[in-house]
């Protein structure tokens, strides 16, 4: 069974155009080697899209598809495949059933982390000469460490929308012997065949950062140990000359000339988009690993292909928790600056170069739906297509992002309980999805302010490498506290639907108000004392059972009555830097308390423990009130 949800919100870029052309060529000249209904459907959608864009319309198309992959296996092997010991690498005979035809091969478990869960990622290697939709290998990611099931797909969707060189990525329902196993993500095997399919030729040089040495950071320190830091995947030889030359060039080129260097040696968009994607999804697990480089002899340029996005969209590793809790933890960070991750001169010089930094900002603005970028076009394209918008416009704008997430939630959530094998344990799916939406809601306003809005002193909120080093060395064994008082004010109109209360200097959102009713325009103030144990508490509640944050909300305009739903957040960046009281046993038991007229009152509170967001509804506030809030577990 196949379900298709179409979103008319994504465009096609030059590279996608090249892909389409290649696909059309392939389908005409070798349709048998690329038999694929979905491909034909995609072509149809894209042709329709061209019809729309020629007319100057901005309709865009992409689709979320949930296809079904049917496998046949010996029933004992099918059980063993998922239930055997995590690090066993045995393979088993399998047949992929595709339109009644059986394509034979062997199936094995892949991945490292996900092996430790019953729902494992698997790889099907088809027998010599066999192909499934043009692929010799079928890689199915279990998504077992991301209980939202969305992080990887969303990131690949953004990457593909921006026109980056990327594999085909599709959701699949996996059935084995007609029994539903679970949702998996098919990610096309990244090899030279993929680059050939994308029009970059298969005779180029293909490198992957070594996942175990953490030194694929292009730094001068590591440019002479390339074999340790990089795996050359194709051609399979030990000649690293091209890569060495590239990295030396990156390190030797001054920042002011870096735009020329990048234009000469790189597909510039692939670098800009890489930084943009990592900024938006807050991916710090990269720049020294988790990316590929391909040098296309056809174009004479390098392209970057990002990889591995499980620690993204708020999820973050912990510096001190023991494995695996350093990865599987409750930390959540929407507030990291745009630039994060390991140092890397390609990243640093791109951001420091004026032209390239502007390109970065423009691309962010495009993905935020603030300003639209147009594709650069060739002579032929200019004749027929005018002002073709770049793909991915408004991709991260909350309305677009959240409708995409909701659509996925509707499909995945329906059959999630029918999955045969569980992944990692954690908060329910609904909480996971809500955390993604809250990430988008909070990070969108943060990045928008940091990157585009000036401070009250008319200076930039953020510039690349605008980093204040800590005054004293950070002790990684001790809890770190940086108490702040964040004061925000907002002018609220009766017609406003929602208001973000944002600290102006740090560009830090501290609360969100959904306006239910307001009798007149008003000035609302929210003040937050962070990383501080509340002193005044309701009777019977110990300070160690409370979040170490205090909020004060009031209205500065006389004779105002405001009714709002309110969101407040708290800090849980890592086990060393958080606001969780020592005696809090279960964050789900936290409630907001409000002090009004010198009396504490418990508020009906809903909490997203992943996103660390507390919500309360129907809060009434008059101009004579100063409301003090705390959050405690009883």
């Amino acid at each position: 069974m196949e379900e298709i949800i179409r979103f008319w919100n994504t465009n096609f870029t030059n590279i996608q155009m090249a892909r389409i052309k290649t696909k059309i060529k392939t389908s005409i000249f070798s349709i048998s080697s690329y038999s694929c209904n979905s491909f034909i459907r995609v072509i149809r959608v894209q042709v329709l899209f061209f019809g729309l864009t020629v007319g100057g319309l901005q309709a865009e198309a992409s689709e979320i598809q949930f296809k079904t992959l049917e496998l046949e296996m010996d029933s004992r092997d099918a059980e063993v495949l998922f239930r055997k010991e995590p690090y066993d690498t045995s393979s088993f005979p399998v047949a992929v059933v595709d339109e009644g035809k059986r394509i034979h091969g062997r199936v094995e478990v892949i991945g490292q982390f996900s092996r430790n869960f019953l729902k494992k990622s698997i790889l099907i290697k088809l027998d010599e000469g066999q192909r499934w939709q043009g692929n010799k290998k079928i890689s199915l990611k279990s998504m077992s460490t991301d209980l939202s099931y969305m992080r990887e797909w969303l990131t690949w969707n953004l990457i593909s929308s921006l026109g980056m060189v990327s594999p085909r990525v599709e959701y699949y329902r996996l059935n084995i012997n007609k029994q539903f196993i679970g949702f998996f993500l098919f990610i096309e095997w990244i090899d030279t065949s993929m680059f050939d399919r994308l029009g970059l030729g298969k005779d180029g040089e293909f490198y992957n950062t070594n996942d175990e040495t953490y030194c694929g950071d292009m730094s001068p320190d590591n440019q002479n140990r390339l074999q340790e830091c990089w795996a050359k995947l194709s051609p399979k030889d030990k000649d690293y000359t091209s890569l060495k030359k590239l990295i030396e060039g990156i390190n030797e080129t001054p920042v002011e000339d870096f735009d020329k260097f990048l234009t000469k040696h790189f597909d510039v968009d692939s670098v800009i988009n890489w930084l943009v994607v990592n900024t938006i999804i807050s991916n710090g697990d990269t720049y020294n690993k988790n990316y590929f480089l391909y040098f296309s002899k056809k174009t004479g340029k390098w392209v970057v292909i990002p990889w591995d996005f499980d620690l993204s969209f708020g999820r973050n590793a912990d510096p001190v928790l023991p494995f695996p809790r350093n990865i599987l933890n409750d930390n959540y960070t929407y507030f990291y600056p745009p630039e994060l991750g390991s140092p890397n001169p390609l990243k640093e010089k791109t951001l420091k170069n004026k032209q390239l930094f502007n390109a970065f900002k423009n691309r962010i603005s495009h993905v935020f739906g603030i300003t639209m970028e147009r594709e650069s076009q060739g002579f032929f394209e200019k004749l027929f297509i005018k002002d073709k918008p770049l793909g991915g416009f408004a991709w991260f704008r909350p309305d677009e992002f959240q409708s995409r997430v909701t659509a996925l939630e509707n499909i995945v959530g329906r059959d999630l309980t029918k999955e045969r094998y569980p992944g990692s344990k954690g908060e329910p799916f609904e909480q996971q999805v809500e955390a993604l939406q809250l990430y988008n809601q909070w990070r969108y306003v943060l990045l928008k302010k940091l990157i585009f809005d000036p401070t009250p002193f008319n200076t930039a909120h953020w510039l690349p490498y605008f980093i204040f080093p800590p005054l004293s060395p950070v002790d990684m064994t001790k809890r770190q506290t940086i108490p702040l008082i964040l004061s925000t004010t907002a002018e609220v109109l009766p017609t406003d639907k929602s208001v973000v209360l944002m600290e102006e200097l740090l560009a830090r959102p501290v609360g969100m108000l959904d306006i239910q009713s307001l009798n007149k325009p008003a000035r609302v103030r929210l003040e937050v004392e962070t990383e501080r144990v509340p002193e005044s508490l309701p009777a019977g509640i110990h300070p160690s059972k409370c979040i170490q944050r205090i909020w004060y909300l009031d209205i500065k305009t006389p004779d105002t009555i405001l009714k709002v739903n309110m969101q407040l957040d708290y800090l849980q960046e890592s086990s060393l830097h958080h606001e969780i009281g020592e005696q809090i046993t279960d964050e789900r038991g936290l409630s907001l308390w409000v002090m009004q007229n010198y009396k504490w009152r418990k508020l009906k509170t809903s909490i997203n423990t992943l996103a660390n967001v507390l919500k309360t509804e129907a809060l009434e506030l008059t101009s004579s009130d100063l409301l003090r809030f705390i959050a405690c577990e009883e």
């Binding site: 004992r76 092997d77 059980e79 063993v80 239930r83 055997k84 010991e85 995590p86 690090y87 066993d88 690498t89 045995s90 393979s91 088993f92 490292q112 430790n116 869960f117 019953l118 175990e212 953490y214 710090g284 697990d285 020294n288 690993k289 590793a317 912990d318 510096p319 001190v320 023991p322 494995f323 695996p324 350093n326 990865i327 960070t333 990291y336 600056p337 994060l340 991750g341 390991s342 140092p343 990692s424 980093i467 800590p470 950070v474 990684m476 770190q480 960046e573 890592s574």
Partner: protein
């Protein structure tokens, strides 16, 4: 600070992940029971994986237990040196094959004997389809020559058939994913050896206890093993010259061994074995040193 945190996180995560993988995938030699040059294992190799182990042991016996369990001194020290070679291969997820042989030198103080030892070829399978550490084995023992000094191993040089089951009480890896092995793990095995010529037919068993020492790369194992013959039940004769394989024999031994993982695939092992009690059998002391390595096809 964010960047610092993330960089630190990377390095730390790498170290911890690497260590975890070492612990999870390495096949410790100490799972392989060194008993009288016979290997038995509760561990199944993954399909296509191979293991080769080699090492040497040296045993001495200054006394023997008579049929009544009383200790009698030899007039001369009995000595035996063994160099062994062992290999196993993951034929499929469900079956492993293994083979072993060795070169043995024996000296009872008055005469010596040496040569290529019995060859053992066997098959190992899973008692539990999904879990490792629960295996059965069947092996054929093929003699290479006749041995004249077999007081260390009754039945040496005879055709034989061996069968056993082996168990290791490991936690379910999915109940608490990523959990390191608990501080100690218990295991055990039970089996029988049948031999031609009415000599060396035995039932045997062992129980062992294993624990990490110093760091997860080091392991210590303590083992108590026992065997009892069910062949050679003749009566009469005297036992002043040492064990006589025409008669029933029993033995209880203890082992202590120390293993160290040199890498993800290679480890070394040192052990000391002391016979604690017996009837009609030598009182041996044995030291052993071995090395193993594994590789994928």
């Amino acid at each position: 600070m964010n960047k610092n945190l993330i960089s630190h996180r990377d390095a730390e995560a790498q170290r911890k992940t690497y260590l975890f993988i070492i612990l999870s995938v390495s096949v410790p030699l100490w799972l392989i029971i060194f008993y009288s040059n016979v290997y038995a294992s509760a561990w199944m190799q993954t399909e296509g994986d191979s293991l080769i182990a080699t090492g040497t042991s040296y045993s001495i016996a200054d006394s023997f237990w008579k049929r009544d369990g009383k200790l009698a001194q030899y007039s001369t020290r009995h000595k035996q040196g063994v160099y062994y070679l062992y290999g196993e291969y993951g034929y499929s997820y469900y079956y492993n094959i293994f083979a072993s042989t060795g070169w043995t030198y024996s000296d009872n103080g008055t005469s010596t004997d040496s040569g290529v030892d019995d060859v053992k070829i066997g098959i190992r399978g899973r008692l539990n389809l999904f879990r490792n550490g629960r295996t059965w084995e069947i092996a054929a023992i093929l003699p290479t020559r006749k041995w004249y000094l077999s007081d260390y191993r009754p039945g040496q040089g005879k055709y034989g058939l061996e069968a056993g089951i082996f168990y290791r009480f490991r936690p379910n890896p999915y109940e608490n994913p990523f959990a390191e092995y608990p501080h100690s793990i218990w295991g055990g095995g039970l089996g029988t050896t049948l031999r031609s010529g009415g000599v060396g037919g035995e039932v045997w068993g062992y129980g062992n206890w294993q624990k990490n020492l110093f760091s997860p790369l080091w392991k210590i194992e303590i083992k108590l093993s026992a065997l009892s013959s069910f062949a050679g039940a003749e009566t009469g004769s005297v036992d002043i010259y040492g064990p006589n394989d025409s008669f029933h024999y029993d033995q209880i031994s203890s082992d202590i061994s120390l293993s160290y993982s040199l890498s993800r695939t290679t480890g070394i092992n040192l052990s000391y074995k002391q016979d604690l009690w017996g009837r009609n059998i030598n009182k041996n002391e044995t030291v052993h040193a071995g090395i193993y390595t594994t590789w994928k096809k």
